[in-house]
């Protein structure tokens, strides 16, 4: 009688200890997870800022380029008209350079942004 009771008590004590250990482990795990995820979030925020900054640089440069394109197009248009007149007057056919229609830039059309998995090499450009 005594032996069995003692054994059961021991096993209970053991299981109680195990359960306390498990609970403590779970708690520690949670703490580790919280720190890890916080760290990762910080890193991702940093990458986002980097990407945004680089985007802004390119965006401003693109605006400058667009202005140049517009200006050159106008200039070309005026020169062409001049050549047009000259060719009419002189009957000479001039090879008038065509004006590329850059105004309707396909890439500026509102295209749906497909989510691409973020990868490190995205920024080697």
């Amino acid at each position: 009688m005594d032996e069995r009771k003692r054994k059961r008590k021991l096993s209970n004590r053991e299981s109680a200890r195990r359960s306390r250990m498990r609970k403590q482990q779970h708690l520690d795990e949670l703490i580790v997870q919280v720190n890890q995820i916080q760290e990762e979030n910080k890193k991702v925020r940093h990458m986002i800022d980097g990407a945004t900054q680089r985007y802004l640089n390119f965006a401003s440069e693109n605006n400058v380029l667009r202005a140049q394109v517009a200006e050159l197009t106008d200039r070309l248009r005026s020169l062409n008209s001049l050549l047009q007149i000259a060719s009419e007057v002189s009957g000479l056919a001039f090879d008038i350079p065509d004006i590329p229609d850059t105004l309707l830039e396909p890439w500026q059309l509102p295209c749906p942004i497909q989510p691409i998995p973020a990868s490190a090499d995205v920024f080697q450009c």
């Binding site: 008590k9 949670l30 680089r54 985007y55 394109v69 070309l76 000479l92 008038i96 850059t102 989510p115």
Partner: protein, 334 residues
């Protein structure tokens, strides 16, 4: 069944050797009880079916100290303690509410470790109650609280202090358990929330990098556009500067040939105004070969003008000779 009887007789000897503190009144009481039990032990042992629970002594200061017989309760079932509970309260002193109360918590006694029985002091019940498994801590606490209440009756200052400390310990234990539980729940919630942030951050990252990629492609395209346009503009400028006027000039002259003489002077004046522009040398390999020939012709005309302006050639007739040669060349380039 017989072994249970044997242990009961042995009982009194075990009883005497117990290490409990014995006040004189207790001894007298024991003597009385021993005789009392001796008379009834047959009856009880059958009912209790023998148990090795040992005996219970409820120390109550100088109050009634009532030892219980060493009962042979079968190891595998504590429950039969409950069955015999009514009997217990009967043969016990009616003014001992504490004792029946002790019975309530007896279930926890059989659950817990044997050594708690070896020190059958007054605290036995609370010690057991406090150390009971956390699994059913709530229910235990409530029982014990009631019990603590009943302690109040004793006016002994020592007891009161002990009880106060006990109660405060229990409170603080409960508070710390609650705090720990809250901390755990908080951590769980924090992890979930951080996971949500993480997901949305990655989405933002994807959008940002897509935007960035579009910008780089735009940039490349725009740069090539600008280059192309620059080339074309330069080309157009060259054409305007070099060729167009000479060809239009030759065209004008052609008109002159089909028209009467008096137009000559007016043409001449026009040539004057135009000639300074055409002074550019026709040397570069301009694609319009026809025009370069006419340049040569024009240079003669220019020389001719100088002569006229110098007043050397006054006879207007000479002009047609030169131009006839000119007209011969012009049609070629048409």
């Amino acid at each position: 069944m017989d072994n249970s009887k044997k242990t009961i007789y042995k009982n009194s000897s075990i009883f005497a050797s117990s290490d409990m503190k014995r006040s004189p009144s207790e001894l007298a009481l024991q003597a009385y009880v021993a005789s009392e039990d001796g008379r009834r032990n047959h009856q009880k042992s059958d009912i209790f079916g023998g148990s090795d629970q040992g005996f219970f002594a409820i120390e109550n200061g100088d109050h009634m100290h009532f030892p219980f017989k060493n009962l042979e309760i079968p190891k595998d079932s504590c429950t039969n303690i409950f069955t015999d509970k009514p009997l217990w309260s009967q043969n016990l002193y009616p003014n001992q509410p504490m004792v029946s109360v002790a019975m309530d918590s007896q279930s926890s006694i059989c659950v817990d470790s044997p050594q708690s029985i070896k020190n059958p002091s007054g605290q036995e019940n609370q010690a057991i109650g406090a150390s009971s498994g956390s699994s059913h801590e709530q229910s235990d606490e409530d029982d014990l609280e009631m019990e603590a209440g009943s302690y109040e009756q004793s006016t002994n200052p020592l007891d009161i202090k002990r009880i106060k400390r006990m109660v405060s310990n229990r409170e603080s234990a409960r508070r710390s358990r609650r705090r720990k539980q809250a901390h755990l729940a908080d951590l769980e919630q924090q992890v979930d929330q951080l996971r949500g942030d993480n997901a949305s951050l990655f989405k933002q990252l994807a959008d940002a990098s897509q935007q960035f990629k579009d910008a780089t492609t735009n940039n490349r395209v725009l740069k090539s556009d600008v280059e192309a346009l620059r080339a074309k503009v330069k080309l157009a400028e060259d054409m305007v500067a070099r060729g167009s006027l000479t060809s239009s000039l030759s065209h004008l002259l052609q008109n002159y040939l089909n028209t009467p003489q008096d137009y000559v002077n007016t043409n001449m004046n026009q040539i004057n105004t135009i000639s300074p522009i055409i002074s550019t040398p026709g040397g570069n390999n301009s694609p319009y070969s026809g025009i370069t020939d006419s340049n040569i012709g024009l240079e003669n005309a220019e020389a001719f003008n100088n002569n006229v302006s110098n007043g050397l050639i006054t006879d207007a007739v000479r002009v047609p000779e030169i131009w006839t040669w000119e007209s011969h060349v012009a049609p070629v380039s048409k």
